[in-house]
């Protein structure tokens, strides 16, 4: 299991996040970072099913859209209070994810990816065409901002939104860390490394894969709901597969199957594209080949490679007992 930074590293990241607004020069920077946090949350979910469990789910953005649209439709068309709609977003995503996961997880490897790519497409097309429910290509507009708490805290400024989203990211990371380091996380990794061996160790493949899948899509759904409340309008484009590709990029740059990797990737890559403003539309001219090079030469990503290096250093330095007589 990839060793983490340790509590000190996480505390530093937490502090950095809390203090960021002091560094940010204007509201635009806050917005960029907040959006990055939202996608980071979704990427954490994707990392669980892809990096830890080894199944490449290309429909992930579709689930983000489901969560977003649930919140949007409930708040705009049915005047449901924001936080109830938020809870519903997670529930609906899980409800849709359950049968889809159950069907698709019977497939392995490439078939699973192609299948989920088609599922993602279906979700996109349904959102686009089912106009009576989703407003079709017009989209959902006028989504209310997250409702304040007891009149004390309100979430209508970029600063307050930033801290709200940051809060969710922190909770999401904390929960994911718990999961990844637990026996459950180890089970996922065992499935990724070799599902035949995992099954021979008594692991129920379907049940565990489904658990990972559900956790991952709920992360996506809630990230989507946050997105809806943050950006205040939605279009079918949110379900487009290129968002999943973006998140794949973040995971790969940071390090598939680590915790910090996707996090750092999801936060740094959008900033890099920001600075290369002209690249925004054509960012994949650079990122495409970068993805290829990473996969060939640095498949564990930046963080992953560093962690592997560190683990090797640690293992070489570990005290060796005298080798015991065999058998």
């Amino acid at each position: 299991m990839a060793r983490l930074h340790g509590p000190l590293g996480w505390a530093l990241l937490l502090a950095a996040g809390l203090l960021f607004p002091l560094l940010a020069r204007n509201d635009y920077h806050l917005t960029v970072m907040s959006t990055a946090y939202i996608f980071a949350l979704a990427t954490l979910g994707l990392n669980l099913i892809v990096g830890y469990t080894g199944q490449f789910n290309l429909a992930h953005a579709g689930f983000m859209a489901i969560g977003a649209y649930t919140l949007g439709i409930l708040t705009v068309d049915h005047q449901v209070p924001f936080w109830w709609a938020f809870l519903a977003a997670g529930a609906v995503t899980a409800l849709v994810g359950w049968p889809l996961g159950w069907i698709s997880l019977r497939l392995k490897g490439h078939y699973f990816s192609i299948f989920t790519m088609c599922v993602g497409y279906i979700i996109f097309l349904v959102i686009e065409k089912w106009e009576s429910l989703t407003h079709g290509t017009v989209g959902v507009i006028g989504i209310p901002a997250p409702s304040g708490i007891a009149g004390v805290v309100s979430f209508d400024t970029p600063l307050s939104l930033y801290y709200l989203v940051f809060f969710f990211l922190v909770v999401g990371v904390w929960a994911m860390r718990r999961i990844a380091n637990s026996l459950l996380g180890r089970t996922f990794v065992a499935i990724r490394n070799g599902d035949e061996l995992a099954e021979a160790l008594g692991i129920n493949l379907m049940r565990n894969k489904l658990t990972a899948f559900l956790i991952s899509v709920v992360y996506a759904g809630w990230a989507g709901a946050l997105y809806a409340g943050f950006v205040r309008f939605l279009g079918p484009d949110l379900a487009a597969v290129h968002h999943t590709f973006d998140m794949t990029m973040y995971m790969l740059v940071g390090g598939l199957g680590t915790l910090i990797g996707p996090l750092l990737g999801a936060i740094s890559v959008p900033w890099i594209t920001q600075y290369l403003q002209f690249l925004q539309e054509y960012r994949f001219i650079i990122f495409g080949p970068l993805l290829i090079l990473l996969v060939i030469y640095m498949p564990h990503g930046i963080v992953g490679s560093w962690l592997a290096w560190r683990a090797r250093q640690a293992s070489l330095a570990a005290p060796h007992n005298q080798e015991q007589p065999r058998a």
Binding site: R178, E199, R312
Partner: protein, 254 residues
């Protein structure tokens, strides 16, 4: 302990295992040998639930396990190794072993999220069992070593340790000495004897005749999916059908 009756498995028109009946004796070392393509691994796959037999039954400790799924079979106490052991190379050896005891735990997602006592306790137990298994195979000193950095022989021992941490009664070993030199093979054979001495039943597939002849209590010989002989090493060695099956083919290095 394990009773196999008229076991047959067809893939398309081809019978990989054809009407094989045998028993695996408790507390003994049972071996399965045969030329390449004889159906030995398929035989294991049928027992451990990877494939469903076309016909026949498998009875384990009096219970019919013919159509059980692999993880259920493992939970009943049948552990298995594979020819290629898939470990997480970027993690330590001990880390790889901890999941071995998972099947005996009951903690679920809720336990994980709230950090329940049950989870903490079970994780502690898993770690202990992992350490114990590692010690049993004589590799405690490799606890912190990265799994990608160990030798082939050590890898085979780690595979044994994984199987042991599931607390099995029967262990199926698929070519436990594959890719291992003669001296190391002797060490692994010793380890297998130690396992039996500690109350396990072992069934292994191997090509190394010296190892099999000196190790096994009972041998089953398969050829083209069919049983052609069964008995003690002495009986099997003298059996003309066995000699015939191996005639001309490369039989066993050393």
């Amino acid at each position: 302990m394990l009773k196999i009756e008229h076991l047959t498995k067809r893939f398309g028109g081809n019978a990989a295992v054809n009407n094989v009946s045998t028993t695996v004796e408790e507390g003994k070392i049972n071996a399965i040998i045969g030329p390449n393509g004889a159906g030995k691994t398929t035989f294991f796959n049928l027992i451990s639930g990877v494939h469903k037999p076309t016909s026949g039954t498998i009875t384990y400790l009096g219970r019919d396990i013919t159509t059980l799924r692999t993880d259920s079979v493992a939970r009943l106490g049948v552990a298995r190794t594979f020819q290629a052991t898939t470990l997480f190379n970027q993690a330590s050896v001990l880390d790889n072993l901890i999941v071995g005891h998972r099947l005996r735990t009951r903690a679920n997602l809720w336990d994980v999220l709230v950090g329940s006592n049950r989870l903490r306790e079970e994780e502690r137990v898993c770690r202990e069992k992992a350490r114990a298994a590692l010690e049993f195979v004589g590799l405690s000193h490799l606890e912190q070593r990265m799994a990608g950095d160990i030798t082939q022989e050590e890898r085979k021992r780690v595979a044994f340790a994984l199987a042991l941490s599931t607390e099995p009664k029967l262990v199926l070993l698929d070519e436990p000495a594959g890719g291992v030199n003669p001296e190391e093979t002797v060490g692994l054979a010793e380890l297998i004897r130690k396992m039996v001495k500690n109350g396990l039943t072992v069934c292994l597939i191997e090509h190394k005749m010296d190892m099999i002849m000196s190790l096994a209590d009972k041998i089953l010989v398969l050829s083209y999916g069919e049983k052609i002989a069964e008995g003690t090493p002495a009986e099997v060695k003298a059996n003309p059908a066995v000699i015939d099956a191996y005639l001309g083919s490369d039989h066993a290095d050393i």
